[in-house]
């Protein structure tokens, strides 16, 4: 029982970063009906830039954090300009394919930046842990959870209390009507990419600081985890992304404990398989269906 609770707590903490990755996918999908496959690679390259400074100039950890965040946002904007802004609005597939190609490009850049397989990644957080009754809480993971909660709270305020959030939701509801109401979709989308890159950079930093190492495969890993968490929660749903991320974290933590390390990733795919069979729209996916139904009612 103690193991079970401990695993669940660990899973929720690590799952909070999955949730942030999923939010990056779900906002882009919810607003543009497009998938940005290069999202994970964007974060990876941003973190690589930070690592590069760390390796060559031994800069302070804070500089690494700042570089990671700024470079991730810049790469995110680059991806938006190249794969999304430049491609026609109705060509969602073309965007996805080009984001896949750009993913390869970003990986190549990272490998040339730092050619070895793995590098150690500096942690801002004082790695320590403390006991709470029979449970053990790791400092990095608590930081991760707190960061995720702050990001989600800020995003919620942004989406529901600001004019920018209103514009974003208006575009998601009806892109054409939004344009005739004076909303500049191109600008709003550019900001959205910068925004999700920021969220992704924070998630990426928290994960890498916990792992204490970085490889070029982090991009692949982050894209997979983010996509799976989004699919579990329901594509395009913000609460779904959070729920999906936490669920994925918890299931992985249990699989790792009860079945062994090699089953951790497998459990994620089994969970995704089960979800696709039992509830293809994801946990909170009915909202998307609801919206389509509304479209038929001529609203």
């Amino acid at each position: 029982m103690i193991d079970f609770v401990q695993n669940t707590v660990d899973g929720i903490m690590f799952g909070s970063s999955y949730a942030l990755l999923a939010i990056g996918f779900t906002i882009v999908f919810g607003v543009m009906r497009r998938i940005n496959l290069a999202f994970g690679a964007t974060i990876m390259l941003g973190a690589y830039a930070g690592t590069w400074l760390h390796v060559h100039y031994q800069v302070h950890v804070l500089v690494v954090v700042l570089t990671t965040v700024v470079c991730t946002v810049l790469v995110g904007i680059y991806v938006e300009r190249l794969c999304f802004h430049a491609v026609r609005r109705d060509a969602a597939l073309a965007s996805m394919v080009s984001s896949f190609v750009v993913w390869m490009q970003l990986e190549e850049v990272a490998i040339h930046l730092l050619p070895e397989r793995t590098y150690s990644f500096p942690s801002l957080i004082v790695a320590g842990s403390f006991e709470l009754g029979p449970f053990l809480l790791r400092g990095e993971q608590i930081t991760m959870l707190v960061l995720a909660a702050v990001m989600v709270g800020a995003l919620h305020l942004l989406l529901h209390r600001t004019r920018y959030g209103l514009a974003l939701r208006a575009i998601s509801e009806s892109p054409r009507a939004a344009a005739y109401m004076g909303i500049d979709a191109a600008w709003v989308m550019l900001c959205a990419f910068a925004l999700v890159s920021l969220v992704g950079a924070v998630a990426g930093y928290a994960i890498l600081a916990t792992d204490e190492q970085i490889t070029p495969f982090f991009g692949l890993w982050a894209t997979f985890k983010g996509l799976i968490a989004m699919m579990l929660g329901g594509m395009g749903s913000l609460p779904g992304a959070i729920l999906g991320g936490l669920l994925l974290g918890v299931v992985e933590a249990h699989a790792q404990w009860y079945l062994g390390n090699e089953y951790k990733d497998l459990s994620a795919y089994v969970l995704l398989f089960a979800m696709l069979v039992l509830r293809p729209g994801g946990l909170l996916g009915q909202r998307i269906l609801g919206r389509e139904e509304l479209a038929f009612r001529r609203v």
């Binding site: 004019r163 920018y164 939701r169 509801e173 009507a177 344009a179 109401m181 500049d184 919206r291 509304l294």
Partner: protein
């Protein structure tokens, strides 16, 4: 106010609109009528930038609008309603109006904070006024998708008004409305004009068009076939033929179905 010169739109071989000249003066309620597929909706779509024109120019208050995207045209003062209502279904009635308020230059000139966080007092007051005018005062917090059809139409009208346009394009606003609702709509349109908005009305419902407009242009197969006051247009031979479908349909192949 609005000047169209030689405006044309071809879809492949189909000439949806062919060389339309039209001038709408400030303060007019201008009617644009014609049988189905005569190019009325195409004209509206060209004025607000849905697609690019094949040839010709659109001038609005002396400025060339060709090539400008819809959001720029709205900010210049051209707002529209849609033939099939296009609200933001999962936003509340109040938020639907806020989106439009959001975009009008007037309001966004308030500085950084009110621009990003919440609505200013002035915006709230303005939205409350618009809700009242649209008889939706008690429905501000409803989702737009929960409104009845007539209410949705009124909300769309109010949303266009919220953008504080100089020119309002109404694309068949009376479609599906009852007699009484049409009378109400007529009053709303006149009130809108009296507050200084020029109106271009595309409509099939003749009692509305003949009741509120001062000038009417009649289109058929992408051409303007008549122009004048409601009385003049009703007496026009070419117009009667277009609507009854005699010589007009013989002289031109029926391909203007856009």
């Amino acid at each position: 106010m609005l000047e169209l010169r030689g405006l044309s739109k071809h879809f492949g071989g189909v000439k949806a609109l062919d060389g339309l000249d039209l001038t709408v003066d400030e303060g007019d309620i201008f009617g644009l009528i014609g049988p189905n597929g005569s190019g009325k909706s195409t004209t509206i779509n060209l004025i607000c930038g849905v697609y690019g024109e094949t040839a010709g120019t659109v001038h609005f208050r002396g400025n060339l609008m060709n090539g400008k995207p819809p959001h720029t045209r709205l900010r210049a003062g051209i707002a529209r309603t849609f033939q099939n209502i296009r609200l933001f279904p999962n936003l509340t009635v109040w938020q639907n109006l806020w989106v439009a308020q959001n975009s009008s230059q007037d309001v966004s000139a308030h500085g950084f904070l009110p621009r990003w966080f919440g609505a200013t007092r002035r915006t709230r007051k303005e939205i409350a006024r618009l809700l009242e005018l649209a008889d939706l005062g008690h429905k501000g917090d409803e989702l737009a998708s929960n409104l009845a059809f007539g209410e949705q139409r009124r909300l769309e009208f109010a949303r266009a008004a919220a953008a504080r346009p100089k020119l309002l394009l109404l694309d068949e606003p009376a479609a599906g409305m009852s007699r009484q609702e049409i009378d109400n709509l007529g009053r709303r349109i006149r009130r809108m004009r009296d507050s200084g908005v020029t109106i271009l009305l595309v409509e099939h419902v003749m009692e509305l068009v003949m009741g509120v407009t001062e000038q009417i242009a009649v289109l058929n197969f992408g051409y303007k076939i008549a122009f004048g006051t409601p009385g003049e247009v009703q007496r026009d031979k070419a117009v009667q033929e277009a609507y009854l479908g005699t010589s007009a349909s013989k002289s031109r192949p029926v391909d203007g179905s856009a």
